[in-house]
Amino acid sequence: MLELSVNGQRHALDAPVGASLAQVLRDELGLTGTKIACNEGHCGACTVQFDGIPVLSCLTLVHTVDDREVTTIEGLRDHPLVEAFVRADATQCGFCTPGQIVSAAALVAANPSPSGEEIRYGMAGNICRCGTYPKIEEAITSWRG
């Protein structure tokens, strides 16, 4: 039996050894906002936070999470960044967008007024194949409305 704290809720569940956090979030907890796009830690679509720090849930074995608080996009639905992304048109197909917002939320929590350079550095791990990057930068720059 495994215990996980996700978005402030505690869950007790069984998961096979070797299961990734992304797999458990999506398949066991139904939190499908976390996307798996490469499943090998190269694209950032599966980004979640551990105690506020962005991590790649596809590379994280669920049994190593321990008592860290996991935050997924479902826990950030009311974050002003969500509105900022829509306002700036920073989503096209949208498959990478939840991961982008989870990364961006960690960025602005640590640095509420990031420069363009800091945004490009902080967000370089999240690939968007549609190329919404200019709009993502705009959304993060103007995230407080």
């Binding site: 479902e74 197909c93 194949r129 190329g131």
Partner: protein, 748 residues
């Protein structure tokens, strides 16, 4: 009234002539410029769903009892299956069905051989390892030129107009060069995948990540011999396609076969590695080009031999298209070959052929302009074609000269940009023109229903592949009904819940669907006014819709709800369809991009610092979404130009780049300043909207504009994509070894 016409149908530059039943398009175009909803920036209707992770993609579909498929793929590029034993896999834990052999002769690495369905994905993957297989390995054919010599061709095509020899004889200057472009991969964030579920043996539901709901329906119905109406195809949200998801694929039939064998729904999703092997690619090309011009810059002849590395399967995209179509040159000869190779089949990729062909042609044009000592922008103006260069047809609209005019201020920055060169960093400016399709066509249908609450829903079984067409359709309906956009919903993504809609390929969704949606909304508006005329005892022609009200010529005004309220549970239903394209006219999109680059001549590093994109795509419905399309196209073009390449082991044909760290796509850190300008003038001959497509045009000129900027900065002629440091340093070495060339004397 329905009308039967014989018409040319175009998808991504491929024309077929066929009978088409169309309805007349009787609506007059709206006036130019921003209206109430159309032409104004609009938020994506489904933006919140996407941003909050609520959007349900095929990857998120979980059906009760659903099994997972895994596919055994060939490790060899060319081989025969000598022995295949699936028995050990069927006995593996969790396995419910096995399938194979799917192919006996293997034509490329990653081609499907066998498949397994199991209770969990891990079990399915584990079972693959138990499959026993023996191979006869064969020599792979990997060299496109060799394939042409051996006549191993998927297709070939030659085109000639005028007298090319005479044209070259008349030229004062001739340039000749060989260009190469690489294989690039779509790498959509959501891999190709489908979930299939049978109802009995006769009805099949396919949830699939696709650009073509109706195309998949047709493919699957034909494959299983089912009436098309017994196949339901659902794609509510999809995670990118870029041309690679225009039809059903192996994964679709594998899921459906395994679902039929087990009586349970089955999901078959490609892994990222499989996506890099068997999901299509933009084929590599070899372009041997020659151009001649008179001293005044008039092009006298263009000639090109284009070899596409098509792969094991696919079609011959027109790499010679830009050479044929972009300039008003009288003498043109092109030969195009599609080499059949032991590599993964090509698929359409955002303006297939034209992206590759524009790189070669527009670099060559700049070399020619340089030899003549002519300004590249002026050279392009002088060779502008006022009617279709191929057959002299008039254009439905063409504002390329206006694009050039608007490019001038960006072009005029070059002295200042060059002046910012410092140390090893040389700076320069380059440009390239764009020509491409995007006019769309019939058939496409939409319904609009208006309820008692004066909210309307657009219903059509189209797909939104992420370009924002959902929002565009809502804006069009809102404009016609004079309602705010937030009073409009759009129901799409399900072949069982709406009429036929065009495929989202060839920049055709807005240009095909938009006029149908407007016609359906106009049908509703007419009915609404008919009812209002009866209710208020007024002449219908004295009534119109404005700002959510019904207004009469004599100054009366009533909220629309006063009439819709009478409906109670009733609805006003309107239907609309896409009318024909203008006969005898060529419908195309145009544009120009101006790139600014910095090149470190010591290390060969290239940085793109700014790109200005000016395009003519007719009326723009949503300027916000349109700018996103332009930026996205340019950023994909940037990857194509500088970093992306599917690398093959040259002996075995094995793909070396199967992950997203080895296949290098642009990140946010690679993006230059992008300036978007759209001409935004309706095409007066095209439909009731005057809008063309915008998905593809922005990627077309990017690589040539960058390469030409590199020449401006350094004097080096880049000839191959991607422009790696090796290619950059090679071009710099070649430039330093080259003797200054002399402009030939003008002909007598």
């Amino acid at each position: 009234m329905a009308r039967l016409i014989r018409s040319e149908k175009e998808v991504e530059g491929r024309y077929t002539e066929q009978w088409i039943v169309v309805e007349e398009d009787t609506l007059e175009q709206w006036p130019e410029g921003p209206l109430d909803a159309v032409g104004r920036p609009a938020r994506r209707l489904d933006g919140l769903q996407r941003a909050r992770g609520e959007a349900r993609y095929t990857a998120d579909i979980q059906l009760p009892g659903m099994l997972h498929a895994a596919v055994l793929r060939s490790p060899h590029a060319h081989a025969r299956v000598k022995r295949l034993d699936l028995e050990p896999a069927s006995a593996a834990p969790g396995v419910r069905a096995v399938l194979g052999p799917l192919n006996e002769e293997i034509g490329y690495q990653g081609q499907a051989v066998a498949a397994v369905a199991a209770e969990t994905l891990d079990q399915a993957r584990a079972a693959l390892h138990r499959i026993e297989i023996e191979w006869d390995e064969l020599e792979p054919l990997l060299d496109p030129d060799e394939a042409v010599r051996r006549r191993e061709l998927v297709a070939e095509r030659t085109q000639e107009r005028g007298d090319v020899e005479l044209g070259f004889a008349e030229a004062n200057v001739v340039v000749e060069a060989e260009y190469r472009t690489q294989n690039v991969l779509h790498n959509s964030m959501e891999t190709h995948q489908a979930v299939c579920e049978w109802e009995g043996g006769e009805r099949l539901t396919v949830y699939i990540s696709t650009q073509s709901i109706w195309g998949v329906r047709e493919n699957v119905a034909e494959h299983y011999g089912l009436p098309p109406d017994h196949v339901r195809v659902v794609c509510r949200f999809m995670g990118g396609g870029f041309g690679s998801k225009n039809s059903a694929g192996d994964y679709t039939y594998i899921a459906a076969d395994l679902a039929r064998a087990t009586g349970r729904p089955v999901k078959c999703a490609l892994t990222r590695s499989e996506e890099n092997l068997d999901a299509g690619n933009r084929n590599a090309t070899l372009q041997r080009l020659r151009a001649g011009a008179r001293s005044d810059g008039t092009l006298t002849a263009l000639e090109g031999e284009f070899v596409n590395a098509t792969g094991w399967d696919g079609w011959l995209s027109s790499t010679g298209g830009p050479m044929e179509m972009l300039y008003g040159c009288e003498n043109v000869r092109i030969a195009e070959y599609g080499a059949k190779l032991n590599t993964g089949p090509m698929k359409a990729f955002r303006a297939p052929g034209f992206v590759e062909g524009t790189f070669g042609l527009e670099c060559l044009i700049d070399e020619l302009a340089a030899k003549l000592g002519l300004d590249p922008l002026e050279f392009r103006r002088r060779n502008h074609s006022d009617s279709d260069a191929v057959d002299g047809r008039p254009f439905s609209s063409k504002n390329l000269l206006e694009c050039y005019r608007r490019a001038q201020p960006h072009w005029d920055r070059r002295d200042e940009v060059r002046g910012r060169s410092a140390g090893p960093w040389k700076r320069g400016v380059g440009m390239a023109s764009q020509i491409w399709y995007g006019g769309g066509g019939p058939p496409s249908y939409a319904w609009v229903r208006l309820g008692a609450d004066a909210r309307a829903t657009v219903i059509t079984a189209m797909q939104d592949i992420g370009t924002g067409t959902t929002t565009v359709m809502a804006q069009i309906a809102a404009e016609e009904l004079a309602l705010p956009v937030d009073r409009i919903d759009v129901s799409l993504g399900d072949s069982a819940r709406g009429p036929y809609a065009v495929t989202s390929a060839g920049s055709s969704t807005v240009s095909s669907m938009g006029p149908a949606v407007r016609a359906a909304a106009a049908d509703v508006a007419t009915q609404l006014l008919e009812i209002a005329a009866q209710r208020f005892d007024l002449e219908q022609r004295s009534l119109s819709l404005r700002g959510g009200n019904i207004v009469s010529a004599d100054g009366g005004s009533w909220p629309v709800e006063e009439i819709t309220g009478l409906l109670e549970s009733g609805q006003i239903i309107g239907k609309g369809s896409r009318g024909p394209n203008p006969t005898g006219m060529r419908v195309l999109t145009f544009g120009v991009q101006v790139a600014e680059v910095a090149v470190d001549v010591e290390t060969g590093e290239v940085r793109v610092e700014r790109i200005a994109a000016i395009h003519d795509v007719g009326r723009v419905i949503n300027p916000l979404g349109a700018s996103s399309q332009v930026e996205g196209g340019i950023i994909q073009g940037l990857g194509h130009t500088l970093s992306e390449e599917r690398l093959l082991d040259p002996r075995s044909g094995v793909v070396l780049t199967q992950t997203l760290d080895s296949y290098r796509m642009p990140t946010i850190a690679d993006v230059p300043e992008i300036v978007t300008e759209l001409i935004d003038v309706p095409d007066e001959h095209l439909t009731n909207l005057g809008s063309k497509g915008l998905g593809e045009p922005p990627i077309v000129p990017t690589s040539a504009a960058i390469a030409n900027a590199i020449r401006d900065a350094t004097g080096a002629d880049v000839r191959a994509l991607p422009i790696t440091r090796e290619e950059m340093l090679r071009a710099l070495r070649e430039a330093s070894e080259r003797r200054p060339e002399r402009v030939e004397a003008p002909a007598a």
